[in-house]
């Protein structure tokens, strides 16, 4: 098997494996979407997933270096901006800018 066809096969398999994970809940639950338990889970997964995603991002940070300090600083900037102005774009931009400047100089 040539290198290119191997690569293409990998792409196809990965695309299928990824698509299955994204498609499954829609196929499995589309008939039951009015069930109270499902509605309940659907209501509370986004806040839980958002908490987990933030924790996941924090997990990758090196806290014993300056990076950790900059990260927390940028996070504080993002949160305070958002609580004060409540403009998502502005808060994200401010936090990211602070982090980029801090890490690059």
């Amino acid at each position: 098997m040539s290198n290119i066809s191997y690569l293409l096969l990998v792409f196809i398999l990965m695309a299928l494996a990824t698509y299955v994970t994204r498609l499954a809940p829609f196929v499995i639950f589309s008939q039951h979407r009015e069930r109270p338990l499902l509605k309940f889970v659907a209501k509370y997964t986004p806040p839980m997933v958002m908490t987990i995603l933030v924790m996941y991002m924090l997990k990758g940070v090196q806290y014993n270096s300056a990076e950790g300090l900059y990260y927390i600083l940028a996070l504080l900037v993002t949160v305070s901006f958002h609580l004060l102005v409540r403009n998502a774009l502005l808060s994200i931009f401010a936090g990211t800018l602070v982090y980029m400047i801090a890490i690059q100089i």
Binding site: F11, I12, L13, M50, I52, H82, A88, F93
Partner: protein, 223 residues
């Protein structure tokens, strides 16, 4: 509508562009032509899995193993659809594409934002998904093409993803106004960080869902 969608997805652009570029640079080291990096962004479209695949392709791991690892790495998506069952409209090509393009970032956006009243929700979501994938493919392509002469230092730009999730977390709090799901998810993440560092995302989501369902059964009225 396009202007509004671009504004909404700008944080995703900031997140995907440097990450995609990093992927493209890494992919380029495997020695394939640059357009295969773009192709992977188009047909696989899964950030973490694409990074993992570069490592596996480099060490010549078997096809089956790559497919299984991809499945498990993305298995958190099994729970993402739950909150969007009613958001993607009727079955059809559009819905199939919306599901294909469901990433952490688009999930976070689509479950949190309010679509402006003047726009059709499914079309709005379609554009969010399409634009986000374009940003990702663009990043992959730039990285694979221009790995040697990057004009702009994007170091640190990946913070945009953290900032996006943080802002959406605050928005979720303002919508839900109940501490419980956040506390459950926080405890679940701490437990899985300690016990299952590598698979933290999936384990935390499963633990949280089990916990909140159990609490509902124990104390039905309060939730």
């Amino acid at each position: 509508m396009i202007r509004s969608v671009i504004k909404t997805t700008l944080p995703i652009l900031f997140g995907f562009l440097p990450l995609g570029t990093a992927f493209g640079i890494l992919f380029q080291e495997l020695g394939y032509p640059w357009y295969f990096a773009s192709l992977m962004g188009i047909c696989v479209y899964a950030g973490a899995a694409q990074f993992m695949a570069v490592g596996m392709l480099g060490s010549g791991v078997g096809l089956f193993e790559i497919a299984i690892s991809t499945f498990f790495l993305n298995s958190r998506h099994l729970f993402y659809g739950l909150a969007l069952l009613n958001s993607f409209g009727a079955w059809g090509l559009r819905k199939l594409y919306l599901i294909f393009g469901l990433t952490d970032e688009t999930y976070a956006l689509m479950t949190t934002i309010k679509v402006p009243k003047e726009f059709n929700r499914e079309r709005y979501f379609l554009l969010i998904t399409l634009f986000s994938q374009c940003y990702w493919v663009l990043g992959c392509t730039i990285g694979a093409l221009a790995s040697s002469f990057l004009i702009f230092n994007t170091e640190g730009m990946e913070f945009a993803a953290t900032a996006l999730f943080t802002v959406l977390l605050i928005e979720q709090w303002l919508m839900v106004r109940r501490l419980l799901p956040f506390i459950i998810a926080f405890i679940a993440s701490c437990i899985s960080l300690i016990l299952f560092f590598q698979h933290m995302l999936l384990v935390s989501i499963v633990l949280s869902i089990i916990a909140i369902i159990s609490l509902r059964f124990i104390n039905y009225k309060k939730l």
